[in-house]
């Protein structure tokens, strides 16, 4: 797919850079969001794996004008990288592997529970971005042998501290929330503290490892 800019309501644009996850595209999306927020100062932006949501006030900047600026960012290519400019902290997440979807996810992946835990805890992940909930850090990539599509009907209540997997990603639910990821474990670690100087435990770029209890 060619990179493109599509309207998201009248006051936002979605820059889509691709369909497939690629490490350099994460950095590209973040660079576009940075430029939109700091250089253009049009409004907040939310980068994700392969896209950047760009918000603006449509009564202040005509949407067609905003689109023009957004398109100008596309040929710049990868203007930020996920690794390098900031120190990557190593975060360890002590995890009890006893989630309600653990057995089903193992079965779906044609693995034993022990094998699934070993695969999940056996690699270091990178936090690509935060989203969905305060302090919710999207980490990847999951071992491709773990097969975990999102739930068909999201749960209305996922407990805080749930360690979850979905579509090649893993994360910890920092708060009680509805959610569609498969729950394989839980941690006691506080992932979001609104009173802390840096409220989110994990930040984009950090290296994350899950340690079985």
């Amino acid at each position: 797919m060619r990179p493109r800019v599509v309207p998201f309501g009248e006051g936002a644009l979605l820059v889509e850079l691709g369909d497939e996850f690629q490490e350099n595209v994460v950095g590209w999306a973040r660079g576009i969001a940075d430029t939109w927020e700091t250089d253009f100062a049009f409004g907040p932006a939310v980068p994700a794996y392969t896209s950047a949501l760009l918000r603006f006030d449509p009564l202040r900047i005509a949407p067609t004008e905003a689109e023009k600026f957004a398109r100008e960012l596309l040929p710049r290519g990868e203007i930020a990288t996920i690794v390098g400019d900031r120190s990557r902290r190593a975060i360890e997440v002590p995890t009890a592997y006893d989630g309600p979807d653990l057995a089903e996810t193992a079965e779906r992946s044609q693995l034993s529970v022990e094998q699934l835990v070993a695969l999940h805890a056996g690699r270091e992940y990178t936090c690509y971005f935060l989203g969905f909930l305060p302090g919710f850090a999207y980490c990847g990539r999951l071992d491709p042998r773990i097969v975990a599509p999102r739930l068909e009907r999201p749960r209305e209540r996922v407990p805080a501290g749930s360690v979850a997997v979905a579509d090649g990603q893993t994360a910890v639910y920092p708060l009680v929330s509805p959610g569609g990821w498969r729950l394989i474990g839980r941690t006691e670690l506080t992932m979001f503290d609104p009173a802390a100087a840096e409220p989110a435990r994990i930040r984009a770029g950090d290296r994350v490892r899950f340690v079985p209890l």
Partner: protein, 301 residues
């Protein structure tokens, strides 16, 4: 100070929302029906970013320590002092005078604005309450909240503005992921009559009645906004509201225009909802009309 003697089922301080921490995953929060809060603020002479009180399940009863101009807005709302006063109107209240916010059967959110604004501490750049993350708290009987300086007086009371239209179809633009659905599925979406599910809250309104065939395959999570209509794999769409997550992994078939967010937010479980497809120019016209209405309602403090 405003002193709360009856707090309704759930009441929170809300403003236009917290947009400075989206990248840390902090939802915007703010009023679920943004136009109603904006109108209440305008009627009492407050700035557009002033905080008011969002009330779920009135009655909500309060007094102020000094004289203030107050207004309530929302679907089917009114105020009572000694007499019953209509919503969407500014009312002068004396120090200590007991005021009650009332609502009808079809009220989901009522918005109370007090001249000077609710002056609770600003957290991460906003006064909007977001309960799941401990940003602010649900209001309770016996609570007192600080108020800002009021520039309004008795002469500013009695103003009225036309209540928002809460009935009828909800205008929405297709996309941003409409091209990922079969064309006839998008047509079916704009044709369908949905029913509001009881499992709806400030995060989103769940729509039942007509399942929408989801697209095959997975989508990478992307940033999302209030008004986005997500289609999870089960096919029951969710319209996102103020407490929505900052990113989501379900395809967004359509986006409710900003001017019609309140129309979605204020539907009660069991009511029906139909979408009406518009293009971006119509969404902008509706937003401009809303802005003109607010300018007309605003008293110059």
């Amino acid at each position: 100070m405003i002193r709360i003697s009856e707090s309704g089922a759930r009441s929170t301080v809300q403003d236009r929302g917290r947009f400075g921490h989206l990248r840390s995953g902090v939802p915007p929060a703010g009023a679920a029906d943004p136009f109603a809060l904006a109108a209440a603020n305008a009627l009492v002479g407050n700035d557009a970013d002033a905080a008011g009180i969002e009330i779920i399940g009135p009655p909500f009863r309060f007094t102020c320590d000094d004289s203030r101009v107050v207004a309530v807005a929302g679907r089917d709302v009114s105020l009572a002092t000694r007499t019953r006063l209509p919503g969407w109107s500014s009312v002068f209240v004396r120090a200590g005078q007991i005021v009650t916010v009332h609502s009808g059967e079809r009220t989901r959110f009522a918005y109370l604005a007090v001249s000077g604004g609710i002056a609770t501490p600003v957290l991460l750049g906003s006064r909007a309450t977001y309960l799941p993350a401990g940003l602010g708290a649900a209001l309770r009987a016996g609570d007192t909240l600080p108020l800002g300086d009021s520039g309004s007086g008795a002469e500013d009371a009695g103003r009225h503005t036309e209540p928002a239209a809460y009935e009828g179809q909800v205008r929405a633009m297709a996309g941003p992921h409409d091209h990922r659905f079969e064309p006839d599925v998008v047509a079916q979406f704009f044709d369908a009559t949905f029913v509001i599910d009881a499992a709806s809250d400030r995060q989103g309104i769940r729509l039942g009645g007509v399942p929408i065939a989801p697209r095959a395959g997975e989508l990478q999570s992307c940033g999302i906004i209030a008004g986005a209509v997500q289609v999870p794999r089960g096919g029951a769409p969710i319209v996102l509201l103020a407490d929505h997550q900052t990113t989501g992994g379900y395809p967004v078939i359509a986006t409710v225009i900003a001017a019609d967010l309140g129309k979605v937010a204020q539907r009660v479980p069991g009511e029906s909802l139909r979408f009406y497809r518009v293009e971006r120019d119509e969404a902008l016209d509706a937003l401009r009309a809303e802005r003109r209405a607010l300018d007309g309602a605003r008293i110059s403090a």
